[in-house]
């Protein structure tokens, strides 16, 4: 019994020593916080209804004044790239642990914390605007948390008829008479990657070089990602004029839920996937 006590004491002391020594070294991993700053050019967006006097307004290249009452988008498939080029995927096949809905109306959704990121220096971030095809199935059994979050009444990020998630949902008003604008994007693609049989792929992969390396270790860096919604109508790929009506080219509300007009908005927001891989996104700064 005495012996046992001794052993116990020794092991307690030892473990205390070990944990002390750990404290001295850099931790093997730490958090990285992504902060999303949703703007019109350099102004952070304030939402507002049709009559709002406080909402942030923007003027498009076509001269159309507009503002938003709702602004949401899905971020998933997040990967951090180390200075040496190693790619660290963050739960890229688990929507519950690796995807989030950024909702301008809920400030807590503007920060997304990536936990347990291996220590090291990171130079680049990649992520998806939307959900990649193989995960975009509204699978409540596999990803109950993300399903519940996206499907919640105040979120409405499901596209029931397409049996997939909405990737962006923008509601607002345009022109001096505050006509309604309602722009939703999502994929309608069918089949396997490389052998799609029909539909439009609205998922966009974004690559952003960090303005300075994010150093994960003792510190938990914060990367601020700017999403400049000025690009929605005045993008790198398309300059869009909103029109209201029921014709094939009317794009402000009718038909905008359809794939024909949608692709132009998708390319502006998330890039065209080839010459433009940043879309509306850029890095505002990295705090170590």
């Amino acid at each position: 019994m005495k012996n046992l006590k001794k052993y116990l004491l020794v092991s307690v002391v030892l473990s205390a020593l070990i944990s002390c020594s750990k404290d001295d070294k850099d931790p093997v991993a730490n958090n990285v916080t992504l902060h999303f700053n949703n703007t019109f050019k350099s102004n952070t967006i304030v939402l507002g209804n049709a009559a709002s006097t406080t909402a942030t307004t923007n003027t498009s290249a076509e001269g159309q004044v507009h503002h938003f009452s709702e602004l949401k988008y899905v971020i998933s498939n997040i990967r951090l790239i180390k200075a040496d080029g190693t790619e660290i995927p963050y739960n890229i096949n688990d929507l519950d642990k690796g995807a989030t809905v950024v909702n301008q109306a809920k400030s807590e959704t503007l920060d997304y914390t990536l936990s347990n990121i291996p220590s090291g220096e990171y130079k680049q971030i990649k992520f998806g605007l939307g959900v990649k095809q193989e995960l975009n199935t509204l699978d409540q059994v596999k990803f109950p948390t993300f399903y519940a979050n996206a499907g919640a009444n105040e979120t409405e990020m499901m596209w029931e008829w397409g049996a997939g998630y909405r990737f962006t949902k923008l509601e607002g008003f345009y022109d001096s008479d505050n006509k309604e604008m309602s722009i939703h994007t999502g994929s309608t693609i069918e089949g396997e990657e490389g052998a799609y049989t029909q539909g439009v792929d609205a998922y966009r992969d974004i690559t952003l070089n960090l303005t300075g390396n994010a150093v994960v270790g003792r510190n938990a860096p914060k990367i601020t990602i700017k999403a400049d919604f000025d690009k929605l109508l005045s993008g790198k790929t398309n300059t869009i004029k909103l029109t209201t009506g029921t014709g094939m080219n009317d794009n402000a509300t009718p038909n905008i839920h359809t794939a024909v007009q949608m692709t132009k908005f998708v390319d502006n927001l998330g890039g065209d996937g080839s010459s433009d891989i940043t879309g509306m996104f850029s890095i505002d700064g990295v705090e170590n």
Partner: protein
């Protein structure tokens, strides 16, 4: 100490053996059903071969089809809109779901699904197993979720029995629900109409009016309503009055192709007598009103189907031809299929 260890490990091994015995599947007998494929029908959709109807799978699927607990407030089943006596439609212009909410489109009939390549008016769904989830979660239809449904039925003895008979165990899973519903729908084959009997030389003959109608059909309708399914399964803009709902764009909603704007799948004419009203959102109350519309001239559109575009946007029909066509279309009614 060593002895104890030896005994323990033997015990452990024995236990492992026992466990293996328990895991062995319970034998169950769930024979495959052979689909009675009518002569002249097109090839089966590939999905059928991957999910062949079985005796109990079909029974379970039919029970699900009638299950009102699929809707959030347990009032709406698949069969609420897909009513067998109307060739699995509901006679409403647009489908009515939970709390009387009005859907975007006219309820499509369910028949000969095993032979279709596309499902829905816009062809969004290519595999029937992927269809059930859509009405389950849609706000205007059942407004529920698959886990909510599984929660509601998981203690139901009848379902547990049927799952065991179908799959050998009582695990109620989402995929099994989708598969068995599809299995049931695959068995809904309609080829027992007067037209079919005439084609099979089973003694029936067309009346004079039906025979004249058949001639008009072959001349003016068959280029789209072709094959034994009476649809070529193409998507066409035929210039019907447009659905004012901003969510409607027809096939273009899926494909993103301008040329598909307000194009819809050519509907089958089988059992058409039972499926009024007609059109993607029930624009036409009767078959006569559809024919009158084609006769008077349809709406123009950039992508209007060439058949109409090249004929002054019309399918000219005399009053007599319309009557005869309707007589002919009624020979496509399968009274056994709809249980009348």
């Amino acid at each position: 100490m060593k002895k104890v260890f030896a005994i323990l490990s033997i015990l452990f091994l024995l236990q492992a053996c026992n466990r293996d015995d328990i895991v062995q599947p319970v034998s169950y007998n769930n024979p495959e059903l052979s689909l009675n494929i009518p002569p002249g029908f097109p090839a089966l959709n590939n999905s059928v071969n991957a999910n062949k109807p079985t005796k109990y799978g079909v029974e379970l699927g039919e029970k699900f089809f009638q299950e009102k607990r699929f809707s959030a407030n347990s009032t709406i089943s698949c069969a609420s809109c897909h009513n067998k006596s109307n060739a699995f439609t509901d006679n409403n212009a647009q489908a009515l779901g939970i709390y009387g909410r009005v859907g975007l489109r006219n309820t499509p009939p369910i028949q000969n699904m095993a032979f279709m390549k596309f499902y829905n008016w816009d062809g969004k769904i290519l595999q029937l197993e992927k269809q059930p989830l859509v009405p389950i979660i849609t706000h205007e239809e059942m407004n529920s979720s698959i886990l909510e449904i599984i929660g509601k039925i998981s203690d139901d003895r009848e379902y547990r029995d049927l799952f065991r008979k179908t799959f050998g165990d009582e695990n109620i899973t989402a995929d099994r629900i989708y598969q068995t519903i599809a299995q049931y729908l695959y068995t809904l084959i309609s080829a027992g109409s007067k037209y079919d009997k005439i084609k099979r030389n089973e003694g029936d003959t067309f009346t004079e009016s039906e025979a004249r109608g058949y001639e008009v059909f072959r001349e003016k309708c068959e280029s789209c309503h072709s094959t034994a399914l009476f649809t070529d399964q193409s998507f066409r803009n035929v210039g019907f009055p447009l659905n004012p709902n901003s969510n409607e764009a027809g096939r273009a909603r899926v494909t993103g192709i301008d040329a598909d704007y307000m194009s819809f799948r050519v509907p089958s004419l089988r059992n058409i007598e039972y499926t009024a009203p007609y059109g993607s959102f029930g624009q036409f109350p009767t078959l006569r009103s559809v024919l009158d519309y084609f006769d008077n001239g349809v709406l123009d559109a950039g992508n209007l189907d060439p058949v109409l575009k090249n004929n002054n946007r019309r399918i000219p029909l005399t009053g007599q031809e319309k009557e005869d066509l309707i007589s002919f279309m009624k020979t496509l009614s399968d009274s056994v299929f709809v249980g009348k």
